[in-house]
């Protein structure tokens, strides 16, 4: 089990995964977080199945906040 943490502080503007989805591609663009009016893509750190998504579109996150749990 691994926590996917936000690499940057900003606002979640897009979530491209669903709970239960398996991530097989290292370059899958899981989350889009807006910071300083720029869209930043969050990639996964480990491949696996999405157990839980901890944020909603529109949430403000800090650097290091948990976005999702991947098993």
């Amino acid at each position: 089990m691994a926590n996917l943490m936000s690499p940057i502080a900003g606002k979640v503007i897009k979530i491209n995964v669903k709970v239960g989805e398996e991530i097989t591609d290292e370059d899958a663009e899981l989350f889009i977080i807006e910071a300083m009016k720029m869209e930043n893509t969050v990639f996964c750190e480990d491949l696996g199945t999405v157990k839980e998504i901890k944020v909603n579109v529109g949430d403000r996150v800090q650097e290091g906040d948990i976005l999702a749990v991947i098993e």
Binding site: M36, M38, N40, F43
Partner: protein, 374 residues
């Protein structure tokens, strides 16, 4: 015959009879600014009012720029140093100084990237400008619009139009100007460096910072007191946490409105006699030189810091040491991401970027102090 004479005198009273070639050229510039703002969406907040100001001032016979005229009165906002501090108030309210407080060593980059100011100053002096005018031209290299306007108003008001236009144009063009310099000066391996997470900054630190800055800057460099005190007041309103409504308003709506006024005022300095000459061309060239040298020296210092820190600092953040917030930091981030998709340099680059704002203010303060301007 009477009717003929009446028509003739009406004709002479309209603008058509009085246009000069230079004015028609400036009108074309005005329309070009509008086109870039509206069609190309380059800095529309700035270019649309600037274009209108430029058009208004170049139509002869309106008297708008004569004492008592609309544009003349609006220009007093710059001449009497009212608008630039108000802009800084708004900028303070929308700026989070956290990345600078978290990593104060980036302050060095904010200073290093200001070499461009002094190189352009020397260049301008060699081209035959007075020392006061050269200093005002040099400050373009700081990439800080309100500061450039402030220093130009104090040192060389006749050059305000070209200086402000050069400063704002190059800020908008940063994504074209900086990347080639960054790629030339930073080796591939260093461009890939990912930086460690910034430490969290407490609310208390964020409140103490603006108050402390007011004391330090005002005691050491009184000439820039109007700008820095407003910047820090705006920031304190943001960070104190008990004035949220005011903070949001001055950081957005208020700032946008003052920007319209200041942009019209800059546009209204672009009369044909002030603008359509060789001096403007020299200023535009010197401004570009200042931007390039500043970016380069920031990058080279960052490479040194990278070596000293044992590879913990990505040198790409060095070019963010010029004060264009947050454009320069975005350029660092975007170049970084080309070489390492998982590299998020934006917040790290904000440190030197914010230091750059203070650096430009300090450089301007030093110039005003040395030249004895109150």
């Amino acid at each position: 015959m009477l009717i003929f004479r009446m028509i003739q005198s009406m004709g002479q009273g309209t603008a058509f009879a009085n246009f000069t070639l230079a004015q028609i050229m400036m009108l074309c510039f005005g329309v070009l600014f509008l086109w870039f703002g509206i069609v190309k969406k380059y800095e529309p907040f700035l270019l649309v009012p600037l274009g209108i100001g430029c058009i208004l001032v170049n139509i002869p016979g309106t008297g708008l720029m004569a004492p008592g005229g609309l544009l003349f009165d609006n220009y007093q906002g710059i001449a009497l140093v009212i608008y630039p501090p108000l802009i800084f108030l708004g900028v303070g309210a929308m700026t989070d100084f956290g990345p600078l407080i978290a990593n104060p060593s980036t302050m060095i980059l904010g200073a290093a990237a200001h070499l461009g100011i002094f190189v352009a100053l020397i260049g301008a002096k060699l081209m035959g400008f007075t020392i006061a005018a050269s200093s005002a031209i040099g400050i373009i290299g700081g990439a800080d619009g309100p500061m450039a306007i402030y220093v130009a108003t104090k040192l060389a008001p006749q050059l305000l139009g070209p200086i402000a236009v050069a400063a704002y144009s190059y800020m908008a063009l940063l994504p074209l100007i900086q990347p080639p310099i960054m790629k030339a000066l930073v080796p591939l391996e260093e461009r890939k460096i990912a930086m460690q997470k910034l430490r969290p900054v407490s609310r208390r630190e964020k409140i103490i910072f603006p108050v402390m800055m007011i004391f330090i800057v005002l005691i050491l460099l009184p000439p820039i007191a109007p700008l820095i005190s407003c910047l820090m007041l705006g920031n304190l309103i943001r960070e104190c946490g008990v004035m949220e409504r005011v903070s949001v308003t001055i950081g957005s709506v208020f700032l946008d409105i003052v920007t319209v006024f200041i942009a019209v005022a800059i546009g209204s300095t672009m009369s044909a006699t002030n603008f359509a000459n060789v001096q403007t061309l020299k200023i535009v060239l010197l401004g570009l030189l200042a931007f390039c040298v500043g970016s380069a020296s920031g990058l080279l210092w960052a490479r040194l810091m990278c070596k000293v820190s044992g590879g913990k600092i990505n040198p790409l953040i060095g070019s963010a040491g010029i004060a264009a917030v947050p454009m320069a930091a975005r350029v660092s981030h975007n170049v970084g991401i080309q070489y390492n998709k998982r590299n998020y340099l934006i917040m790290h680059a904000m440190g030197p970027n914010l230091a750059g704002v203070l650096g430009t203010a300090v450089a301007g303060g030093i110039m005003l102090t040395l030249l004895g301007v109150k």
